[in-house]
Symmetry: C2
Subunit: 347 residues, 2 copies
Amino acid sequence: MPTIVPVILCGGSGTRLWPRSRVAKPKPFLPLVGDNTLFEAALARCPASGGFAAPFVVTGRQHVDHVEAQLGEASEGQVIVEPSARNTAAAIALAANRLPEDAVMLVCPSDHHIGNAEAFTEAACAAADLAAEGWLVSFGIEATAPETGFGYLKRGDAISQGAYRTAQFVEKPDLERAKAFLAEGIYAWNGGIFAFRVKEFLEELATHRPQIAAGVAAAVAKGTEDGRRFHPDADIFAAVPSDSVDYAVMENTARAAMVPVDMSWSDIGNWHALHEALDRDADGNSIRGSASVDMVDCRNVLVDSDGPRVSVIGLEDVIVVVDGDDIMITTIAGVQKVGKLSGAVNQ
Amino acid sequence: MPTIVPVILCGGSGTRLWPRSRVAKPKPFLPLVGDNTLFEAALARCPASGGFAAPFVVTGRQHVDHVEAQLGEASEGQVIVEPSARNTAAAIALAANRLPEDAVMLVCPSDHHIGNAEAFTEAACAAADLAAEGWLVSFGIEATAPETGFGYLKRGDAISQGAYRTAQFVEKPDLERAKAFLAEGIYAWNGGIFAFRVKEFLEELATHRPQIAAGVAAAVAKGTEDGRRFHPDADIFAAVPSDSVDYAVMENTARAAMVPVDMSWSDIGNWHALHEALDRDADGNSIRGSASVDMVDCRNVLVDSDGPRVSVIGLEDVIVVVDGDDIMITTIAGVQKVGKLSGAVNQ
């Protein structure tokens, strides 16, 4: 197995899990499932003891303090500070330009939950092996529901045991198509986890998005080091086109591969997804936080309070969140509208 | 019309409208509907300018400060401080023993809402006239729904225009019977509003509950005045049997009469009743308090917050109350269980 460099992409807008998640402290930096924050959990899945190299964290200026506080002083990890947000293609290219050509990057979002860490590790090793052979590898996350909020990967020909060509990248489908994908069994969720060898990633980026490749290379060349932090040149980086790695590279490359993995994954993309990722009692209820909670005749209710006592009677399929001077109550059917609440928009 | 002395009974346990209502500051002393508290509104319905005498307020020691603060310094009203709670028969008897024999008492709870004050005044005059003739008069509040939470009065023979004998006092019925009462049209709600001349009230009490009559008379005889406050003797009063005026007197007397009245009455007996008494928007929603409230896709929702912003999505038939460090959320179907919440019980 080649040495794997975890490249952790760390950002977030703080609206979909408002009011717990805020612009000033978004999702990755909150202990949403268990005692660790999602970012800490992402780091913990790639430990030095497991053969992983020290991580590269790519984050924005506004999150650097959270990142360093949670990275820990002992860690050898490096932090690349994006002067502006330019989407995932540029973010990954920043890390690639700071690494040797033969390094294998394991690109991980920092705001997902993975229940089965062993399955993750196994898939990471398989993906790294493929990447070391020159493939650009996506994790193909086993679809367990007809989700319309994710892109899908269609499995193609087998490359080796547990490794396939990616036949097609599919945009977020409607419910009809999502159900058909689930039935067909050869479609997986695209969770934004990738393994790339630096050489092939930069080659493909230069082929399909030469402006991004050149711009990021120049921004890194003119960048400055500051302890463990690296600051790309702000003016040059600001001119880099903003594009996702899926659009920029994965949908265009002829070397796209996928590693199917079933690892109890969730993007914790809204309050319903968080509720599903938590332990629930026999009635489907769960409680987060240390506040006193009194539930009477409730089913499938999540109460998350940072202080005030919450007493609830008769609710079903409802989420209650108390954060400072904000109380947010939504039906599960309404969770997609949380980010549109005036409190979430006008932070 | 005889001079009417308002006798305002002022207490409450503070559980059914918890957490807004608390043991330390129960329902009568809260501005639940409009800007006045329910107690202030009860006083305002019996003004000197309307020919009413200064009120007698009967209350417990724990509520005296609230009573005096809301009674106002200008008022000539007197406050009888119950050394212990002995139910309504004894409470009314305390006032009766402090008044001349020919005074007509208008006994009013202090924690009800009356939307139509003119109808109240009209009924009060009619009831006082009847009381001055020796009748023990109940307000017969027009039943507008098959309520199972109230006692009912069955209308008997007419005494005069708008005045009837009470044929029967009926305990809280089940839903079946309540529906039949509503259909029959001769059953009214017993809202605990009475008109009694002191002489007849004390006579009937002495006849049917001699222990209460004698005990209260002795407690008043040995009582002490302290400014506008009157303190019955605590030890004697503690030995007085506890009984409601309905059981002790009204169900036994041969002189029971009733005055039917339709006055948009509510006992504000739970959060649903309060929601019904409030102004609501086209979707049936209402907001109490000055806190910021954001409602999306809600119907028939009441939000009452004393500070924190409340953002609500997709709820229907739900009450949300924020009071200090307590948040209470209940379906309308669940309002009867509010008083049983551990927060309400363990105050």
